[in-house]
């Protein structure tokens, strides 16, 4: 597919803001959606509204088929052994909360004084559920730091992993630094010490060819809305034996086997974790979204943007780029930076008026902001529908904004 062909599939790219064409560079927050996704979403709402799994009528059956075929598509997309290892969620945040909560309730798994390791660059969604768990169970949280380049200091991992370390929580790719972490190496260290590895794949699944088997993760969570699918959709993959040992997360709906006053039993995995009415219109959009992601990976245009951006940014005075890996192939098209004397919020406000959507602020990673001693950053994140021309316009506009602020 050419970029022009791809762009024609994303109607939002025709939007104008303040009379200017939209340049959407906030893809790491939420991606735009292709027609294939929009049509599926519309079809589920306009033709296939019925509750899943529970009725015998024709529409319910077709809706259930759509829903369940997305499960198989998700398993195929991330190389899971079986569709039964795929739990649908509202997004990565819910997936990570589910794992943290249920591990806390799993019989005999955690004792007071046990330890959890969390990466220093984690998104709040992979910090807070573990802080909640640590408070409930009296656990200690240890931090695996990053170096000045933003790379995880993997060499420190073996000494952090003690006999009481039960879980390690790491993003495949940080939403701020855009560096692919050596997850399989981390997994090997963790498993050697009997520690589980929970991976936040929210950014990684979009840009990295992912096989949960090759990663060596025990749990892997991602969101649909960053991956061209409907918002409020997500996937949690878990090792089958672990999913079976975990207690349910929420109660109600089709997650049961029998409900008696004397006690209840629950549905087999994955339905045990899918309480209440599911996102019936949204989940089926994952299937066309996966297809788009597969067909648009590593386009020549994206490679050109990847080559252009760090170089062009480095020529702006006072600019500091965060996430500069020694191995440049570990970088995804996401660039977070600060500019001396130009506040990230001012820059974002001015760029907005130029038609450019970027993210500014702490980006849900306050501990990482503290680590680099900044109150926030500006982030431009690219998708396959972005062009080199847009990247150039972004850099020129940024220079103009800096000039407005500094002169």
């Amino acid at each position: 597919m050419t970029v022009a062909e791809i762009r024609s599939q994303f109607p939002q790219l025709n939007e104008k803001v303040y009379g200017k064409p939209l340049v959407y560079l906030d893809n790491a927050a939420t991606s735009l959606r292709p027609l294939s996704v929009i049509r599926k979403w519309d079809e589920m709402s306009s033709a296939l509204s019925a509750n899943l799994h529970r009725a015998v009528h024709a529409i319910a059956n077709r809706a259930t088929e759509e829903f369940e075929s997305s499960r198989q598509a998700a398993a195929d997309f991330i190389g899971a052994g079986s569709a039964e290892e795929i739990v649908f969620t509202s997004g990565a945040t819910q997936g990570l909360n589910l794992v943290a909560f249920c591990l806390g309730e799993m019989k005999g798994f955690l004792k007071e004084g046990d330890e959890i390791i969390i990466g220093e660059a984690e998104h709040h969604s992979n910090i807070l559920p573990w802080q909640f768990l640590a408070q409930r169970k009296g656990l200690t949280i240890k931090v695996l730091p990053v170096n000045d380049r933003g790379e995880l200091r993997i060499k420190e991992l073996p000494s952090l992993l003690g006999p009481r370390t039960r879980v390690c929580c790491i993003a495949q790719v940080s939403n701020v630094l855009g560096i692919e972490n050596p997850v399989s190496e981390i997994a090997a260290h963790c498993h050697e010490k009997g520690c589980l590895l929970v991976v936040d794949g929210a950014q990684g699944v979009v840009h990295c060819k992912t096989s949960v088997g090759a990663l060596g993760a025990d749990f892997y969570a991602f969101s649909g809305h960053k991956l061209y699918a409907a918002p409020g959709t997500g996937v949690l993959w878990g090792r089958r034996d672990l999913l079976e040992q975990l207690p349910p997360y929420m109660g109600g709906g089709e997650m049961i086997n029998t409900v008696k006053w004397s006690g209840s039993t629950f549905a087999p995995v994955p339905h045990k974790f899918e309480a209440g009415t599911q996102n019936m219109a949204g989940i089926p959009t994952l299937k066309p979204a996966f297809a788009f992601a597969q067909n648009s990976a590593h386009l020549p245009e994206t490679e050109r943007i990847m080559a252009f951006m760090p170089e062009a940014l480095s020529r702006i005075g006072g600019l500091r780029l965060y996430g500069t890996p020694t191995d440049v192939s570990a970088r995804i098209p996401l660039f977070s930076f600060t500019i001396e004397g130009a506040h990230h919020e001012d820059l974002a406000l001015i760029l907005d008026k130029m038609g450019i959507a970027v993210r500014s602020g702490q980006m849900c990673a306050e501990p990482l902001m503290d680590r680099f001693g900044v109150t926030g950053m500006l982030r431009a994140s690219f998708a396959p529908y972005n062009t080199l021309e847009e990247a150039e316009y972004f850099v020129e506009s940024l220079k103009r904004a800096v000039k407005m602020l500094k002169d």
């Binding site: 303040y18 506040h343 919020e345 001012d346 008026k353 407005m404």
Partner: protein, 136 residues
């Protein structure tokens, strides 16, 4: 200048610009002209809650009038708080408390800030009003 004239003057200034980028230039200019707040006054209790960037407001009450001083680490935000204190500083608490702050709507500031930043603007206004009510 009385309060109504001060407000009218701001509305008039804003009306000169068609483009929002020019209005930002104007705010940036206001921000740059605002005297910085001494570091020792940039305290946690002077921070206005609900702003994405940090904004400090210092209030002093002398001879029946309120004097506001402010600062921010973001320059457009500093321009906005400067615009507000240029209008409201040096007036009696009663006069400020009785005002409806509607001139801010007239210059279209709120609509041109993203929702989180518009909340910041609302917090600035609420803080100035609360200070006035405290001394009124």
């Amino acid at each position: 200048m009385d309060l109504n004239d001060a407000k009218a003057s701001v509305v008039q200034d804003f009306a000169m610009f068609d483009e929002w980028l020019d209005k930002y230039e104007y705010l940036i200019d206001l921000g740059k002209k605002l005297d910085p707040l001494p570091e020792e006054l940039k305290t946690e209790d002077r921070l206005i809650k609900g702003c994405q960037s940090r904004v400090w407001l210092d209030t002093s009450f002398e001879d029946g009038i309120l004097v506001f001083r402010a600062d921010s680490d973001a320059i457009i935000t500093k321009g906005i708080i400067s615009l507000l204190i240029n209008v409201y500083s040096g007036r009696t608490p009663a006069e400020i408390a009785a005002d409806d702050f509607s001139f801010v709507e007239q210059i279209g500031l709120k609509e041109n800030l993203s929702p989180t930043r518009a909340n910041g603007l609302a917090s600035m206004i609420a803080t100035i009003r609360a200070e006035a009510e405290r001394y009124a």
